[in-house]
C-alpha cells in the first residue's frame, strides 16, 4: 500500500494534487523497502537511535520514575565504570577475561579452520565428520560446564574449554560453508593450468577463502564474548563475568550494568580490530 502510494506520488512530480510536508515525505521514504538514503542521513538516524535509547534511560531514572536500585541512571553507571577501572583494579578482571576469551577462541579457530576447509572441499571428510558436527552444534555449550568441571577441575583450562566448545562447532560449520562456496571455475582454471590437487588446495582454494574465514572469525568472536560469563560462573576469583556476579550479590545494580556494558565495549573493539586487520590483510578486496 505504502509502496504503491509513494511510487504513484513520485510519478506525479511537482504538480501533485496533495502537497506533502517534509516530514510525511521522509516517513513515506523510510517505509519504502530498500529506499536510498544518503550516508549523512543514515548516520543521523543511527545517532538518533543511540541518543533515544540513552535519552529514555536518562529520563526515566533522573525523573525518579524507576528506583535507582532497579535501574541506575546512565550517568552513575558511567561514573561507576570509571571508578572500577581507576580504583578497584577492574583491569585485572578485564585481562583475565580477555585471556580466557582469546585463549579459547584461538584454540577453537586453530581446530575449526582445517576441519571446516576439509569438510567443505573433500566429500570424504564431509561424510566422515558432518553428521557429528551438525549434531554437536545443537548441544548447548553451557550444559558442558558441569562436565568440564568433572574433567578439568575449576581452573583456567575449564574456562577456556567452555569458550572452545561454544565457538568451535559454529565456526567449523561456518568455515565449511565458506570454503564450499569457492567457485568451481576458479579451481578448474587452475587445473587447466596444470596444477596438482595439492597446488589447487594451497594456492587457489586457501587464498580464495581466507578473507571470508577472517570475517567468520570476527562474527564468531562475538559468541566467544557471550560465553565468558558462563565460563566464569564457577571457580573464578577474577574476570568480567565473576565481577558482574559479585556485584549482583551485593545488590550493586550500577556495577552490574557497568560490567555488562564493559563486555559490550570490548566486543565492539574486537570487531573493529578484525575489520581493520581484514583491510590490511586483503587490500585487493577494497
Amino acid at each position: 500500500m505504502t509502496i504503491a502510494m509513494s511510487e504513484a506520488e513520485k510519478m506525479q512530480g511537482s504538480s501533485e494534487r496533495r502537497p506533502q510536508n517534509l516530514v510525511t515525505q521522509r516517513i513515506v521514504t523510510y517505509l519504502r523497502p530498500r529506499a536510498l538514503l544518503s550516508s549523512g542521513e543514515r548516520l543521523t538516524i543511527s545517532a538518533f537511535g543511540v541518543l533515544l535509547f540513552f535519552g529514555v534511560w536518562f529520563l526515566v531514572t533522573e525523573a525518579g520514575w524507576i528506583q535507582p536500585f532497579f535501574l541506575p541512571s546512565p550517568l552513575s553507571v558511567t561514573k561507576r565504570l570509571f571508578e572500577m577501572v581507576a580504583s578497584q583494579g577492574y583491569l585485572i578482571d578485564v585481562w583475565a577475561s580477555v585471556y580466557r576469551v582469546f585463549g579459547g577462541f584461538i584454540i577453537a579457530a586453530l581446530a575449526a579452520i582445517p576441519t571446516g576447509v576439509l569438510i567443505g572441499n573433500f566429500p570424504f571428510f564431509r561424510s566422515l565428520l558432518e553428521p557429528l558436527l551438525s549434531t554437536a552444534r545443537y548441544l548447548p555449550a553451557t550444559a558442558f560446564v558441569p562436565l568440564m568441571i568433572i574433567w578439568l577441575g575449576i581452573d583456567e583450562s575449564q574456562k577456556i574449554a567452555v569458550i572452545f566448545i561454544g565457538t568451535f562447532f559454529p565456526l567449523a560449520l561456518f568455515i565449511a560453508n565458506i570454503s564450499e562456496g569457492v567457485s568451481n571455475d576458479l579451481l578448474n582454471s587452475a587445473y587447466t593450468l596444470g596444477a596438482s590437487s595439492r597446488q589447487v588446495f594451497f594456492r587457489v582454494l586457501l587464498p580464495a577463502c581466507v578473507p571470508s574465514i577472517v570475517d567468520a572469525l570476527r562474527i564468531t568472536a562475538g559468541i566467544a564474548w557471550t560465553y565468558v560469563i558462563v565460563a566464569e560462573l564457577v571457580g573464578a576469583d577474577k574476570g568480567m563475568g565473576i565481577a558482574i556476579l559479585q556485584s549482583q550479590r551485593f545488590l550493586l545494580t550500577d556495577q552490574v550494568i557497568a560490567g555488562i556494558a564493559a563486555v559490550g565495549i570490548l566486543g565492539v573493539i574486537t570487531d573493529l580490530l578484525f575489520r581493520l586487520a581484514h583491510r590490511k590483510l586483503f587490500p585487493y578486496m577494497y
Partner: protein
Amino acid sequence: MTQVLLENVSVQFLRYREPPQIALDHTNLSIEEGEFVCLLGPSGCGKSTLLNVLGGLFPSSTGKISVGGKSVSQPGPDRGMVFQNYSLYPWLTVRGNIEFGPRLNNWPAAKIATITDELIDIVGLKDYAGQYPKVLSGGMRQRVAIARALAMEPHVLLMDEPFGALDAQTRSRMQELLLDIWSRKRNTVIFVTHDIEEAVYLADRVLVMSTRPGRIIEDFKIELPRPRFAEVVASEEFTQYRRRMLHLLRH
C-alpha cells in the same frame, strides 16, 4: 595435422527415476592444427559440455578423445581454458594472474618474465600490470584470462562464451584482439558461442549444434578472407552464412 580428435564421444547425465539425459550424442570430430573452430548452438545443446570434456573437466561416458596425439582424461596445460566469468584470482595482480601457470610448473624465472611481458603487451595491459582484478573492467579481465591461458603455451585454447558478459562495443574489440592474437600464435582455438555473427566472424569452421540430444548437425567452412575486420559483417557472403545458420537453428 590433426590436433583434436573425437571418436564416438558421448556424455550422459544419470537422473533419479528417469532415463539418462543425453547431453552429447555420439560425436565424431576432427580438428586440424591451427584451426579456429566455433561451436554454435542454443543453450542446452551440449556445446559447453563438449568443451569441458575436451578440457578434461568432465568425463565422457563413451568414446575416445585425443589432443596432439595424446589421449585426454584429465585437465592439462596443453589445453588452456577461458571461462565466461573470467575466474581471475582476486588476490593476484594482473601480472601475478598471468604468470600463475608457469610458476606452478616451476618454469625458469627468466622464461616466465619474458612470456609474461610479451603477453601483457599483446593484450594491451602494460599500464595495469600491477593492478588487482577488482579495478579492471569486464573486457580487461577477460584479456587477463586469455593471457593467463596462453602463458602455458597450450596447443589448444578452449573458450566458453568468453565474451558473453561483455557489452557490444567491448565484445567487438575483443573479437578483433582475439583474431590478432590467434594470427600471431596460431594455436588451435575452440570457441563456444550462441551468437551467429560472432561465430561467422571468428571461425574457419562453425559447427552448428542442436539440442535434445546435443549433437553437431552441420559443419560450415567459412571462406571469408583473412585478416577480417568488423566491416566483413556487412558483406554478401557473411549474410549468406548467417541466413543459413539462422535457418538451421530455427528448424
